[in-house]
C-alpha cells in the first residue's frame, strides 16, 4: 500500500496558506444537505463539531459520557502553547515548529507540524473570545510561563486547570450549536463499529449505554476524535473510560495504526501506593519550573528513606544528587518528558528511590520557596526578613502559582508538599501514535478522518508539554473544517444514506454477535483482572525501556492472555440494560489486540527515539540513539485478522530542518 501524505507543494511557511486558499469549497446550500458524524467530544471533537455546525453542516456528535463536558481533555493542567511572542523573547511560528520537530525526535511530518504552529496563535484568540479565563498580568494582558523542552515562555494557562477551561469553551460553543439545531448530540452512546459503503466511511454502529440498544447512524463521512490508547497499560494518567475501541474498530475495517509504540511516559506523577491502585495522578509539568528533582547520593540514605527511618529533610545538601541539573546543565529540570522519565528510572534502578516501593524521586520546592520569599520581602520593603517571614512569603507565592496542585497532592498522599519534598515517579500519560492520516487528516479509508490524540501526525516520538491542547484545538477549530471540504465537495450529489443498507445491517449483526460472545463466556475472572494483567505485561515489556527479547516474550504473553480472556472472562448483568461491566469488556477486548500491535511496532523499530527507548540502541552515555538512515519513517500497521499485522511505511523527508542528535546538555 502506498501512503500518500498529500502534503501540498511550495515552501514550508506558505503551504497551508496557499492550500487553504485553493481548496475545494462546499456552497452553503450544499452544506445543509451533507451529514457529518463526529465521534468523541473532547477538545478536538467538540471544537470540530461546533465549527462544522457553524459552517452549516448537519453534524451528529457522539460521546460515551453523560455529557460532552466530561471528556478527559478536561484534566490537562499546565497549559497550551502558542507562538504569540507576547513575551518578546524571540518566539516565532518557526521556533515553535522547530521545537516540536526536535522535541518529537524527528519522527513527525514537517508540513503538519508547521501548520500546527501557524494555527496556535488563532486558538488563543478564539479561546479568549469564548470567555476562557486565562491568567493575566497586572496590565490586563495575557500571562505566559515556560514548559519543558523549550527556552521561551509561550505557554498560556488558566491556573492548573487549562484543559478544563478550554474544554468548557469548546463545550459551550458546541452547546450553542446544539441549541441552534446544527448539531444533534448523542450522549451515552459508544461507537462499536465503522460502516463502509463502497469503500468509503458512511456511518457507525453505536450502543446506547442506557438501554443497550444497538443503533445504526449514517452520514456522508465520519470523524474520529476519540483520544489516545494509554489505558492499554491499565495504570495511566488517563481517565478510567479512555479507550481505543473507536479507533481500533476503524483499524479492523482497514485503517492503519501509525507508530503505536510511541507512548509518552510523564515524569511527574504521584507514585503507585498499592495493588488496588486504579489510576495515576499527574502533577503538572509546570512544577518543574520551580521544583528541583533529586535523589540521595548515598545508597544507605535511600534505603533508610524507603524503610521510613529518614525523610528527605534529613539528607544534607551535599548528599543530594540533583541528577537532571547535573546531567543536563543547559535545560536542567526542564528537559523534555522522555529524558526526565528515563533519568528517574536510571536513578531508581540504582536503588536510590525514595518511596517504600523504591519507585519514586523527590521534586523539591524548598529553594523556590526561599527565593520567592526573599523577593517578596524585598518588594514589600522588609530589609532583614527572618527565615520564618521568608518561608511564609515564599509559600504564599508558590501557593498562588501551584496551589491547587499542592492541594491535590496532599489529598492523595496525605503529605504536605510545602514542608516535605514531593515524591514523584513517571507514568503513562499520552500516546503520540494513532490512526494514520494524511495532510487533510483523512485516513487511508476515504471519508474517515482522525483528529487530536487519536491521530499520529504532529508529535513524532515525543510530545512537548502544553502541545496536546494546542493540537486538539488546531485540528478541530482550524484544520478539519477546511480540509473536510476536499472530500465533501465531491459528495454534493450523494443523497443521504439509508441506514437500512445491507452494509449497516451486516455491521449491526457483527456487533451483536460480538457482544453475545462476551456475555456467553461466563467464566470466573473479572474484566478488570484481565485489564490489570494486560497492563502489567505492557509496562514490563513495552514501558519505559524495551528490548527485543522482552518484546518477543510480551507478544506471546498477550496472545495467551487473549485466549484466556475468551475462555474465562465473566461479564455480569444483561446486554440490554445499563451495564458498565459490559462496556469495559468490549474495551478490554480491543486493548488486547492493540497491545500486540504496539509490541510489534516496538520490536520492529530498531532504534531509540523519543518515548521509544530500546536498550540495545543507546550512546555510550546511555542516551537514546536514533538511526536516521533506516528508521526515518512512519510505521503504519495493518491488522490482519488471524494473521500477523503488516507494516506500511511513509518515508519522512526533512527539507527545512537538519536532523541532529537531540541534546539538552
Amino acid at each position: 500500500m502506498k501512503l500518500d501524505s498529500k502534503v501540498p507543494e511550495g515552501p514550508l511557511a506558505e503551504k497551508w496558506t496557499k492550500y487553504r486558499g485553493s481548496m475545494n469549497l462546499v456552497a452553503p446550500n450544499n452544506k445543509r444537505r451533507l451529514e457529518v458524524i463526529i465521534v468523541g467530544t473532547g477538545l478536538a471533537g467538540a471544537s470540530a463539531a461546533a465549527t462544522m455546525g457553524e459552517l452549516g453542516y448537519n453534524v451528529k456528535a457522539f460521546t460515551f459520557h453523560d455529557s460532552p463536558r466530561r471528556a478527559h481533555s478536561i484534566a490537562a493542567q499546565g497549559g497550551i502553547n502558542a507562538a504569540k511572542n507576547y513575551q518578546n523573547d524571540g518566539d516565532s511560528v518557526y521556533r515553535l515548529f522547530y521545537d516540536t520537530i526536535k522535541g518529537g525526535d524527528y519522527r513527525s511530518r514537517e508540513a503538519n507540524v508547521h501548520r500546527l504552529a501557524e494555527c496556535s496563535t488563532e486558538i488563543i484568540d478564539q479561546a479568549v473570545a469564548q470567555g476562557v479565563p486565562f491568567a493575566r498580568e497586572y496590565g490586563g494582558l495575557l500571562a505566559n510561563r515556560s514548559f519543558g523542552g523549550v527556552q521561551v515562555s509561550r505557554t498560556f494557562y488558566a491556573r492548573g486547570q487549562t484543559g478544563q477551561q478550554l474544554l468548557i469553551g469548546a463545550y459551550s460553543a458546541l452547546s450553542r450549536q446544539i441549541s441552534l439545531g446544527n448539531v444533534k448530540m448523542y450522549n451515552r452512546h459508544e461507537m462499536l463499529d465503522l460502516v463502509l459503503v463502497d469503500g468509503k466511511a458512511r456511518g457507525i454502529i453505536t450502543r446506547n449505554l442506557l438501554t443497550g440498544e444497538l443503533e445504526k447512524h449514517a452520514a456522508h463521512c465520519v470523524v474520529l476524535a476519540t483520544g489516545g490508547y494509554g489505558n492499554v497499560f491499565y495504570l495511566s494518567t488517563n481517565a478510567m473510560g479512555c479507550n481505543v475501541s473507536a479507533a481500533w474498530r476503524a483499524v479492523k475495517k482497514g485503517a492503519l495504526m501509525a507508530n503505536p509504540c510511541f507512548t509518552q511516559i510523564h515524569p511527574t506523577c504521584i507514585p503507585v501506593s498499592g495493588e488496588y491502585q486504579s489510576k495515576l495522578t499527574l502533577m503538572s509539568e509546570s512544577l518543574r519550573n520551580d521544583g528541583r528533582v533529586w535523589v540521595p547520593k548515598k545508597l544507605e540514605d535511600a534505603k533508610a528513606i524507603q524503610e521510613g527511618k529518614k525523610t528527605g529533610l534529613d539528607i544534607p545538601e551535599e548528599d543530594r544528587d540533583y541528577y537532571l541539573e547535573r546531567r543536563y546543565p543547559a535545560f536542567g529540570n526542564l528537559v523534555p518528558r522522555d529524558v526526565a522519565s528515563r533519568a528517574a528510572k536510571t536513578a531508581t534502578d540504582e536503588g536510590k528511590g525514595v518511596v517504600r516501593t523504591g519507585l519514586g524521586v523527590y521534586l523539591d520546592f524548598a529553594d523556590a520557596i526561599d527565593r520567592y520569599g526573599k523577593a517578596a520581602a524585598h518588594s514589600k520593603g522588609i530589609d532583614n526578613p527572618t527565615s520564618s517571614q521568608i518561608l511564609e512569603l515564599g509559600e504564599e507565592v508558590v501557593s498562588q502559582k501551584y496551589g491547587n496542585l499542592f492541594q491535590m497532592y496532599e489529598k492523595i498522599t496525605g503529605e504536605n508538599p510545602y514542608k516535605q519534598p514531593m515524591k514523584i515517579y513517571p507514568a503513562v500519560h499520552y500516546t503520540m501514535g494513532g490512526i494514520w492520516v494524511d495532510y487533510n487528516l483523512e485516513t487511508n479509508i476515504p471519508g474517515l478522518f482522525a483528529l487530536g490524540e487519536a491521530n499520529f501526525s504532529d508529535h513524532g516520538a515525543n510530545r512537548l508539554g502544553a502541545s496536546a491542547l494546542m493540537q486538539g484545538l488546531a485540528d478541530g477549530y482550524f484544520v478539519i473544517p477546511y480540509t473536510i471540504g476536499q472530500f465533501l465537495s465531491n459528495e454534493i450529489r450523494t443523497p443521504k444514506f439509508d441506514n437500512n443498507l445491507p452494509e449497516f445491517n451486516a455491521a449491526e449483526k457483527d456487533t451483536r454477535t460480538r457482544i453475545e460472545r462476551l456475555m456467553s463466556v461466563n467464566g470466573n475472572q473479572s474484566v478488570e483482572s484481565f485489564h490489570r494483567k494486560l497492563g502489567k505485561i505492557m509496562w514490563e515489556y513495552c514501558g519505559m525501556s524495551r528490548n527485543a527479547e522482552g518484546l518477543t516474550k510480551g507478544i506471546k504473553l498477550i496472545q495467551e492472555l487473549r485466549e484466556e480472556f475468551y475462555k474465562d472472562v465473566f461479564v455480569p448483568g444483561d446486554q440490554n440494560e445499563f451495564n458498565p461491566e459490559l462496556e469495559k469488556a468490549i474495551r478490554v477486548e480491543d486493548f488486547l489486540e492493540m497491545g500486540e500491535v504496539m509490541m510489534r511496532d516496538a520490536l520492529d523499530r530498531n532504534e531509540s527515539c523519543g518515548g521509544h527507548f530500546r536498550e540495545e540502541y543507546r550512546s555510550e552515555e546511555g542516551e537514546a540513539k536514533r538511526n536516521d538512515e533506516d528508521y526515518t519513517y512512519v510505521a503504519a500497521w495493518e491488522w490482519k485478522e488471524g494473521g500477523q499485522p503488516q507494516v506500511h511505511k511513509e518515508e519522512l523527508t526533512f527539507e527545512n530542518v537538519e536532523l541532529k542528535t537531540r541534546s539538552y546538555k
Partner: protein, 247 residues
C-alpha cells in the same frame, strides 16, 4: 480497616430501590472509589452484579462522580470530590452509607448513577458567548484586569457535578446556573449578551423542574470546587435588572 457499607441498589429508574449491606476490608491509602472497586471485584467473584457508579477522571475535575456519603454529597471533606476522598478519612469499624445524588431533576438510572442532562440543557439555553470560530480579534486586544480574571475563574471552576443540587433541600440549581452566568459576566467579552443569557438560562432552569433557592447555603458548603454563594446573590441581582432592561 474493616468497614460496613450500606449501599443504595436500584435496578433502574422504575424499580424500587433499597439499601444493601456489605462488609469490606480497605486500606487507608485507597481512594473511596478504589474501595468501591474492591467491593465490586468481590461481588463479581461471587457472580453478583457490581454496584453501578459514575466515575471517570478520578482526579477531581471531570465531575462524573455523584454519590452522597453519610448524608453529604462527595463525603466529609470540604473542597473534595468523591474520587479524591481517601480512606484515611475513616477508621476501622465505621459504617458508611452511600446513596445517589437525590433530586427530582436528577432521576436515578441505576444504583448510584443519575441523569444530569438537565445541566447540559441549561448551558445550551445560553451558557456561552456567541462567537463563531475565526471571528476572534487578537487575544491581547481585550485586556482583563488581573483580579477580575481571577474572580471569573473562581466561578468558571465549576465541574458540573450537581453536588449543589443534591445538597439543597429544595433541589435548586442556582449555584450551578449562577456560576456560569458570573463566569461570563465578569469578562468584558461576556457582557455583550449578558441580559439575554440570564433570562434564558433561568427560564430553562425553571423548566427542568429544579427547586427555588431559599438561601440555605448548603450548595456552596458541599461544592467540591468551593464556589461561593455570592454567585447566587449576583444572579438574583442580574435577573432582576435583566427583567427591567428594554429589549
Amino acid at each position: 480497616m474493616q468497614l460496613t457499607l450500606k449501599v443504595w441498589r436500584q435496578k433502574n429508574g422504575n424499580a424500587q430501590g433499597r439499601f444493601e449491606h456489605h462488609n469490606i476490608e480497605a486500606e487507608e491509602h485507597m481512594s473511596f472509589l478504589e474501595m468501591l472497586d474492591v467491593l465490586n471485584e468481590k461481588l463479581i467473584s461471587e457472580k453478583k452484579e457490581p454496584v453501578a457508579f459514575e466515575h471517570d477522571c478520578r482526579e477531581g475535575i471531570c465531575g462524573a462522580c455523584s454519590m452522597v456519603i453519610n448524608g453529604r454529597p462527595h463525603g466529609p471533606q470540604t473542597g473534595t470530590t468523591t474520587c479524591q476522598l481517601h480512606m484515611r478519612a475513616y477508621k476501622s469499624g465505621d459504617t458508611i452509607t452511600i446513596e445517589p445524588f437525590r433530586a427530582n431533576s436528577f432521576p436515578v438510572i441505576k444504583d448510584l448513577v443519575v441523569d444530569r442532562s438537565s445541566f447540559d440543557r441549561i448551558i445550551q439555553a445560553g451558557g456561552y458567548i456567541s462567537v463563531n470560530t475565526g471571528q476572534a480579534p487578537d487575544g491581547n486586544t481585550i485586556p482583563v484586569e488581573k483580579d477580575q480574571a481571577s474572580d471569573a475563574f473562581d466561578s468558571a471552576t465549576c465541574i458540573g457535578c450537581g453536588a449543589c443540587v443534591a445538597a439543597c433541600p429544595n433541589g435548586s440549581a442556582m449555584l450551578f446556573t449562577s456560576a456560569k452566568v458570573n463566569h461570563l459576566e465578569q469578562l468584558p467579552q461576556g457582557k455583550v449578551e449578558h441580559n439575554r443569557r440570564v433570562k434564558d438560562m433561568v427560564k430553562q432552569m425553571d423548566k427542568e423542574g429544579f427547586g427555588k433557592c431559599s438561601n440555605v447555603g448548603a450548595c456552596s458548603v458541599e461544592c467540591p470546587k468551593e464556589i461561593s454563594v455570592e454567585n447566587i446573590a449576583a444572579l438574583n441581582r442580574h435577573y432582576l435588572s435583566s427583567v427591567f432592561v428594554k429589549k
